[in-house]
């Protein structure tokens, strides 16, 4: 499978992940602070970062608990935010080698950032890059959480530092290189549009997410936005 999954190796993934790992460490710090302030204690947030390992879902669960919500509500909102990992897992699945435990490890280390770094384009993913990048993000997230839990009082309110805007900025930086395509024209329901398919999918995904936000629980708009990829169903021929 080496010739189909690209020439990049573990080291390339480890190098590419560094700037994102630094940003994730910052999010981990703010998560540790918020989770502790939400009454989750010191140990549970760190265990959650080790096991759940998904930033937006963990922030959502902490905010529900802080607002006095039930355990079921907090869990459901976390799982809905993570529902996108079902289709994301399907995209990397064909490129994973090895047995059950190896695949489980790759699956656990698949997060937005490692998934994007490991993308080789045209629906292909590099498992070695995925492993390296995922490990880098995981270490940064867990250490950041630990730091936030231990030294939270010295850091202060993450919103004052603008850390909440760093998230969409990071995703925008990841999105832009994906908008290029060899195809210049997209055909949707028989209509030809003079823009590449990834750009149309992105616009459609953002529009779906914003349109649903006022009407559905958090997480649902992001999953529904994934449906925008269906414009690729039969764009060749």
């Amino acid at each position: 499978m080496a010739e189909t999954s690209g020439d990049r190796g573990f080291r390339d993934g480890a190098v590419a992940v560094v700037p994102m790992a630094v940003a994730v460490f910052g999010f981990g710090l703010s998560y540790g602070v918020l989770a502790r302030a939400a009454g989750m204690g010191g140990v549970a947030p760190v265990v959650m970062s080790v096991t759940t390992f998904a930033g937006s879902a963990q922030f959502a669960a902490a905010s529900v608990l802080q607002a006095g919500g039930a355990a079921a509500t907090a869990t459901l909102s976390a799982l809905m935010l993570n529902a996108r990992y079902l289709p994301i897992g399907v995209t990397v699945a064909p490129w994973l080698e090895g047995g059950f435990w190896s695949r489980l490890l790759h699956a656990h280390l698949t997060v937005d950032e490692s998934w994007v770094i490991a993308a080789e384009g045209s629906g292909r993913w590099n498992p070695r890059v995925l492993l390296a990048a995922g490990m880098g993000i995981w270490i940064a997230w867990v250490l950041g959480t630990l730091g936030g839990v231990l030294f939270g009082n010295a850091i202060g309110d993450p919103a004052r530092l603008g850390l909440d805007a760093a998230f969409p900025a990071l995703f925008l930086a990841l999105l832009v290189p994906q908008l290029r395509s060899r195809e210049r024209v997209t055909e949707v329901a028989g209509v030809r549009i003079g823009a590449p398919p990834p750009a149309i999918a992105a616009l459609l995904g953002a529009a779906i997410a914003l349109a649903l936000t006022p009407f559905t629980p958090s997480g649902v708009p992001i999953v529904a936005a994934g449906a925008a990829c269906l414009i690729g169903l039969r764009r060749h021929r």
Partner: protein, 103 residues
């Protein structure tokens, strides 16, 4: 067991189940050709949704606040090929500045 630990354990197990369903059940088998075009577009669609939600959503409300300026500045930085880390720092700094000025 406390509510917090129930959240931690069920979220962790559920998330791993979501992530591992594809890799464990489909691992190593190629997707049918007609789906590869779809899968390649999942990244742009989901990332754009994450950008839009992260910029404009406050819970279930859509708002315009300091994040719009921060992400706008980040877009300019990306246009000039700034490294990712710098993009993120610019977004946070502009947003924090806008909030400080608004008070």
């Amino acid at each position: 067991m406390s509510a917090v630990w129930i959240v931690v354990i069920v979220s962790g197990g559920g998330t791993l189940a979501l992530k591992a369903t594809g890799p464990v059940l489909l691992g190593g088998k190629p997707l049918p050709e007609r789906f590869t075009g779809v899968v390649g577009l999942l990244g742009p669609a989901l990332l754009a949704a994450l950008v839009a939600i992260g910029t404009f959503a406050d819970g279930q409300r859509l708002v315009l606040d300091g994040r719009v300026l921060g992400v706008g500045a980040a877009a300019v930085a990306i246009r000039f090929r700034a490294p990712v880390l710098l993009v993120v720092i610019i977004a946070a700094a502009v947003t924090a500045t806008a909030r400080a000025l608004a008070e």
